[in-house]
Symmetry: C2
Subunit: 215 residues, 2 copies
DNA sequence: GCGTAAATTGAACGATCAATCAAATGACCG
DNA sequence: CGGTCATTTGATTGATCGTTCAATTTACGC
């Protein structure tokens, strides 16, 4: 059992930038603060990153790598039920927000609204993070395919779930009150319950058309 | 018919700040830009506003005043149906985002994620804007009370609708593609359809318990 | 131990930041 | 016209912004 390597300068800088961007936002975080918090010098930072935007890209790539190990993996460990996974995932975000005194919220969502219009490379990575998140949830939903109505668009549903997470966190964070997020999750749960009821009716009816089918 | 008064210096500054905060965000907007765009001098700005934060507060108060005349009123003109109003409102946000080439998004939501943690006064106004928005939608839903299941929490539902709007806009804006928002709205519509079907069943059953009731 | 490249140091740069203030001008009242 | 207060001017402040770079130290193959 060897002692873990001390984190490299590059990693310390990246981790400080990640944390500060999350705590304060991109524009509100100065390079000097990142240097102080990572015990690095400006020359070292600019040795590894061309400029502040490249640092942001590095942070977003880090989040991309982290998505499954840190976010999706634990949920998949908790249960094999695709639908239950969705609500464990949302509950994890909920608990994380409340445990941090309603500060910070979703780092990707924050950056999406702050920098998406101006930083093309960052925007691409933000979009990719959203896509990976939704694709993972989509796979969960596919595993519960037979418990949902035949006509339900599961890709759109995974987007909808991300919508509920981001919109709920935005309101709960602003209000410093978890209620808006809990209420949003509760309505998503009610929606799933109705869909499952409908799917059960479909199964007994053997392919009869469904009440919510708007085609 | 008299010619309208030319806007006062204070109004020009406020309008420039509002637009620039919306286009670029709060931290990314410099005082000097606001001065240039409003053709004012720094002394004039600081005569009316103590500092940049007070200017932000002024902008948020302006949004508060604007909510009903500019956002809710037109929807209420379009139809008297409480449920249909919800989807016209969402469609208006959707069309606004698409017509601006997926830039900017909801100004309140942007500020919520950028400044909510640090600026107490701004946070209060952001919360109030969300509350007013949800309260207005809540009133619409109450007017359709008998078409929704008895047990449905309409206050929570109005929060849920705001969640769908903000979360959908976030994704659509980042992706520069309206699809994630349309998909989210479509699922909200499917949810409402199921609720209305359930409510109709309740009415014929005269108070029987409902499938989605999770008490 | 030597040579070379990578990594690190930290002072310094020009630009821009939010904010100040004494002086000038404008509006309104008696 | 004189007096008074609100408004506007714009040069200027010190701080902080992101960034540069020549010099120095460290790491590593031969």
């Amino acid at each position: 059992m060897t002692a873990p390597d001390p984190p490299s300068s590059r990693d310390r800088i990246l981790e400080a930038a990640r944390r500060l961007f999350h705590e304060q936002g991109f524009h509100a975080t100065g390079i000097s603060t990142i240097l102080r918090e990572s015990s690095a010098n400006s020359g070292t930072l600019y040795h590894y990153f061309d400029n502040k935007d490249a640092l942001l890209v590095g942070v977003l790539e880090y989040y991309t790598r982290l998505l499954h190990p840190a976010v999706m993996g634990p949920v998949e460990q908790a249960t094999g039920d695709g639908i239950e996974r969705v609500f464990i995932l949302l509950q994890n975000y909920r608990d994380g927000l409340a445990s941090l005194d309603f500060r910070m919220g979703c780092p990707i969502g924050n950056l999406a609204l702050e920098v998406a219009d101006d930083h093309a490379a960052a925007r691409d990575l933000i979009v990719r993070n959203f896509e990976n998140w939704a694709a993972n949830v989509h796979a969960w939903l596919e595993s519960a395919r037979d418990r949902l109505p035949f006509s339900t668009d599961l890709a759109a549903m995974s987007r909808f779930i991300l919508t509920v997470m981001e919109g709920g966190m935005m309101q709960a964070r602003a209000a410093r009150d978890i209620a808006p997020m809990d209420q949003s999750i509760a309505h998503l749960r009610a929606y799933f319950d109705l869909l499952q009821t409908q799917a059960a009716a479909e199964r007994t009816a053997r392919g009869g058309n469904s009440p919510g089918d708007r085609s």
